[in-house]
């Protein structure tokens, strides 16, 4: 299942499930009313129970969506829709036009949230269930509702539900469009942020090189020539100058080493994420505990994204959160998951506009196809979780 949902605005999906729930609940009540007024057969109650299970299923879908269990939610939505479609088609063959629309709902709902393979599988499921529904309707296993329901009622139900359900489908198409457009927009923004961040970083490196090592080395080149001149006329002074220059050269080498390390930590490319993060945590301003399980080697861009994410999270914890310690967990057992938990002040994500640091982390992980979630509450620290497939 596509993990991009966290990065996607899923309010539209919640709205859709709510509308669907209300419609289906009203239909269940309607069926019970019809049983005791116009169509006096208990098959109508069987109908009502079938539709009622969808109400329960949709309620569960809502809860799962709120808890971020999108995969389960969408599967349940499809299963409930398809089951009720088959049951209703078998009991009331005259509702077949309505059933054919209900069958399409699951595949429409999942469009913005799943990868192509799952969309295709759901599409094939839709075709299969539609064949079953039509066959069930043709078999006439039950004839009471068909026989007892007056023509006007059958026509009214079809007349009411066909346009109504088509409206619901349209809402879904619109929702999918908005969601995909937003994803495209997010990707565009993230891409330009990544380019800008990379340029900013190169400018910083140029400044650091120019203002640091280059200035020192330039001055050393001039003084080296002076010392050379002095070797014959004033050897003692030349020796003193050379000694001074040796110290300054050592400082320049140190500066260059730090700078090179900042550009790309050598341990990360040589030994991988586990050792690089352990080394980085030893240099951190706060105490860091690392738990790593089955961490192997990954694509260089994935290792670098996770590494800088951990570094950024540690820096944020020390700088903004007032933390004294942090826990880093890295788990390579199923894809690559990681989390950084600090004991700092935390914040309210709904009230804090994502700063450059948080956006940077989201962009980096997003660029390698992963997801990042930020779990923070004022007063109870911050946990940043990431997963790369």
């Amino acid at each position: 299942l596509n993990r991009r949902l966290e990065a996607t605005d899923d309010r539209q999906l919640h709205l859709y499930v709510k509308v669907n729930l209300i419609t289906v609940a009203a239909s269940a009540i309607g069926l019970v009313v019809v049983r005791f007024t116009i169509v006096p057969t208990n098959w109508m109650l069987v109908n009502a129970v079938a539709v009622g299970t969808v109400v329960v299923a949709l309620a569960v879908v809502q809860v799962w969506l709120r808890r971020g269990r999108l995969d389960n939610a969408l599967t349940l939505l499809a299963a409930a829709n398809w089951t009720v479609a088959i049951v209703v088609a078998a009991i009331d063959p005259f509702v077949l036009p309505i059933v054919t629309i209900i069958l399409v709902v699951p595949v429409m709902v999942i469009i913005p949230f799943v990868r192509s393979r799952r969309l295709l599988a759901t599409g094939l499921g839709t075709v299969a269930v539609s064949v079953i529904s039509v066959v069930m309707a043709q078999l006439h296993l039950v004839d009471a509702p068909e026989r007892l329901a007056p023509e006007w009622l059958k026509r009214s139900i079809v007349l009411l539900f066909v346009p109504g359900l088509n409206g619901l489908l349209l809402l879904n198409v619109w929702r999918s469009h908005l969601s995909l457009a937003k994803q495209a927009d997010d990707i565009r923004q993230s891409r330009s942020r990544i380019v800008a961040a990379s340029d900013r970083e190169r400018r910083r490196i140029e400044r650091d090189l120019h203002d640091g090592a280059q200035q020192r080395l330039t001055s050393l080149a001039i003084r080296l020539a002076v010392a050379q001149e002095l070797t014959s006329s004033d050897p003692a002074r030349a020796a003193g100058m050379l000694s001074e220059m040796q110290d300054e050269l050592a400082e320049s080498i140190g500066e260059l080493r730090d700078l090179a390390h900042g550009i790309y930590p050598p341990l990360l490319s040589q030994r991988g994420l586990d050792e690089a993060i352990k080394a980085a945590s030893r240099r951190s301003a706060i105490a860091v505990t690392i738990h790593s399980v089955a961490v192997g080697r990954y694509e260089a861009d994935v290792e670098s994204a996770v590494y800088y994410c951990c570094l950024e999270a540690l820096a944020n914890a020390a700088k903004h959160g007032g933390s004294t310690r942090a826990d880093i967990k890295i788990d390579g057992a199923n894809g690559l998951s990681f989390s950084i938990t600090d004991d700092g002040a935390g914040f309210d994500p709904s009230r804090v506009v994502a700063g450059a640091g948080l956006l940077n982390m989201t962009d980096r992980i997003g660029a390698v196809g992963g997801i990042l979630t930020i779990d923070a509450k004022p007063g109870s620290g911050t946990t940043i979780r990431g997963h790369c497939a």
Binding site: Q215, T218, I222, R223, E229
Partner: protein
Amino acid sequence: MTPTVEPDAVTVMVVDDWSSFRRAVAALVETMVGFRLVGEAASGEEAIEMATAITPELVLMDVNMPGMGGVAAADVLRATDAKMCIVLVSTYDAADLPVDVQKADYRYVNKERLTASTLRSLAAEHNG
């Protein structure tokens, strides 16, 4: 070698926001007979103020400095004293300098190429 007072010495001023370069030039000029460092300035503005009092003959002016920058300061200095020998210096390649610096009518020397013989030939060229 302790520099003796040489009344005919070429007076040199160095202008750079980096003290490491000013120190290196001071060390260089100190060893050169016939040259004397008369001023060190950390910005173009400071150089203009200083130059009116000390009127150096040779000015080593860094191109990139906060404030007015080296080229603008050189223009002001030349306007006050057309005879002043102004040499622009920086760590950049000449090709990486802004067009206005490349077009400016000043000699340009890479900082790391600044040696006693460079300074002597610059002064000789200017006087000759």
